[in-house]
């Protein structure tokens, strides 16, 4: 048995295969944080993230027999969550795709302020991006997809993917700089 799938996890997965509700609950609890963190950066709100999370776990529980136990469960789970988020994106927010936003000016950010930002706040900044930027940024920067893969997933050109990534970064910088200013103002007062 691979190291990354512990005996306990394997037992939980066996229980889930038998549709044991307790095993399912325990698996859900165990991977809730990991899966929710993925869902949050692909959505604009926690409610939306929860919807994708549960859709994803439903797929996990119903498609568990197709899981290859020789591969890491986490990888399979993250793939399911991302695909579910993309499905959701395709169904719900296609109209927002490729909203052209004004490219922000080159902005400067204060490192000390950034260091004080929590993970929640930083992920919150990603959530504030438009869906097209958010997805391309998350897929490319955090989940390691290539532009070719992103283009295929989102049915856009590779150039559009690169452009959206660039614009997403600029937007994030803009938001960070705004935080800097707000924080500076707060300290100054």
């Amino acid at each position: 048995m691979p190291e990354y799938n512990s005996a306990v996890l394997q037992e939980l997965l066996d229980g889930c295969l038998k549709k044991n509700r307790r095993s399912q609950e325990l698996l859900y609890k165990q991977f809730y944080g990991y899966a929710m963190s993925i869902c949050l950066r692909y959505t604009r709100s926690r409610e939306e993230a929860k919807e994708i999370l549960n859709d994803g776990f439903l797929k996990v529980f119903t498609k568990l027999d197709s899981f290859d136990a020789n591969r890491p469960f986490k990888t399979w789970l993250s793939r399911i969550m991302i695909n579910t988020a993309l499905d959701h994106y395709r169904q719900e927010v296609r109209r927002d795709v490729f909203d052209d936003v004004e490219v922000a000016e080159q902005v400067s950010v204060d490192e000390t302020v950034i260091s004080k930002l929590s993970h929640d706040e930083l992920v919150g900044l990603i959530q504030r991006l438009t869906p097209a930027y958010r997805l391309v940024f998350s897929l490319s920067v955090i989940d390691g997809y290539t532009h070719e893969e992103i283009a295929e997933q989102l049915s856009i050109s590779v150039g559009a993917s690169k452009s959206n990534l660039s614009r997403a970064r600029e937007k994030l910088r803009e938001m960070l700089s705004k935080i800097n200013i707000d924080d500076y103002d707060r300290v100054a007062r």
């Binding site: 037992e11 307790r22 609950e25 549960n54 439903l58 119903t62 992920v123 900044l125 910088r173």
Partner: protein
Amino acid sequence: MIELPDDELDKLFRKSSEELDPTYEPDDWNDLRKRLDQQDGRTPAGWWRKWWPLGVLALLIPAGILLYSVEGENRGKGEGRKEKLGVAGSEENGVERNETSGVARKEANNGEKEEGGNERGVKRDGSDIVREPGVADSERSREGAEGTRKENASVANGNRLVDNGNKVVASNKKDINRNKLKTSEKEAGKSSSKSELNAAVGKGSKTLPRSRSKAGGVYLEPNRSKVEGGDGALSLKSDANAGDNGTKALGREISPPHRADQQAAASELLTKADEPARTLIFASELNGKALKWNALALPGISEPVYELAEPPAPPKRSSLSAEDQPLWAVRFGYSPDLSTVGLKNFSKPGTSVSLLVEYSVLPRLYLQSGAVWSRKDYSASAEAYQLPKHGYYPPLKLSGIDGVCKVLEIPLNVRYDIASGERSRWFATGGFSSYHMNSEKYKYYYKDPNDPNAEKWPGWKGNTGWYLFSHANVSAGYEYRISRKLSLLAEPSIRMPLKRVGYGKVNLITTGLWLSVRYTPVFK
């Protein structure tokens, strides 16, 4: 203030995303669990989706039996109606017959010889002729002889109708019409003996496949067999035309063994029907050979002949009665076992079978006991259990326990029949049950806050024995009697805990739907 390069920005957000650990929200799991329950059929709606075929079957079986019995009753009534129709037809014919036979008898009594008597005699059927062999003694006109021939032809038809037995009722109407037609023709004084005889023979002597005919493919009219009282029926003497022609015709006897001759005679009759002189037979030749029609002995008649005037058989009485009071009865039943702790977290249904004995202590009141074997699957939160405090339990808080128990249950119930019909009964049952925990298996779930990987305690196996009067039983049901002694029952039931049972001391609630067969060997 610095300008954050792309890789630094990416690293910042990547790290935040990876290290983000949202707090667990139990409501999120509850939402998912509901969806899973729906998908797995563990909700009431899902349970219904899973078990509806059995439920429908349970409803359809009594409904089908009911429908069958109702149809059976209707069929009986229909048959009764048909019988009545037959009787009515017979009566209708009988009116004619009675009138004519009454006249004929009067004639016979008075010794009067009237031509009109012959005309009326036409209306008679064979039975009248059997009763009045003396008719042949009277002098008859040619018309009368032809009429007699018609009579015989119609008798032949009549006998054929009787011969057909089962078809009597169905064709009764036609026969009535036919009789009316003939009567009207005769009343109009039209003698169409040939056509009518042809029609009669044509109808009566239809050729059958040889494989189906004992007479080699030719239907032998019963009255044509002289030995059996057949053809001689045509050999009536006509004083009028016989004298004119001075001819005796068809005076020969036709014996059953010579059926070919019989057939030939019939065909000869057909071909020579328009030659009265040759077809007329002196009835005096038949003196001493009175027609004795033994319907059973007639060719082609193998079954008893129905007496048309026989009153219809009284309707068959049902053996069932609402007043039937069983003294004692035995029941065998099956039920899905839906066990739960606190009427929530229903898991998959187990199975229960029961063998119960019911003894009547008062009218409509029964004492009921027996044995119920069941497998109960349930799961509940750890708070629902009261586990023994042993040192070897992990110092961790249990999150939940799954239980699978095999239970022998001894119920002691009282059944009361709320409403009783001929076939249906509605009843309610209440009482107490004692549980014997034959086999108990528990799985414990707990979570170590220091270890993100949940672990599962092996659980406990064993049995804890008897729990006397641990549950209260309530149920109501419907009983359908398929026969006097046998009935089917459908009975939703619930067992409410009075005591905690099992190793985990749980308040176990069980619901189910008993589908039973009840046999009543002894009535009061």
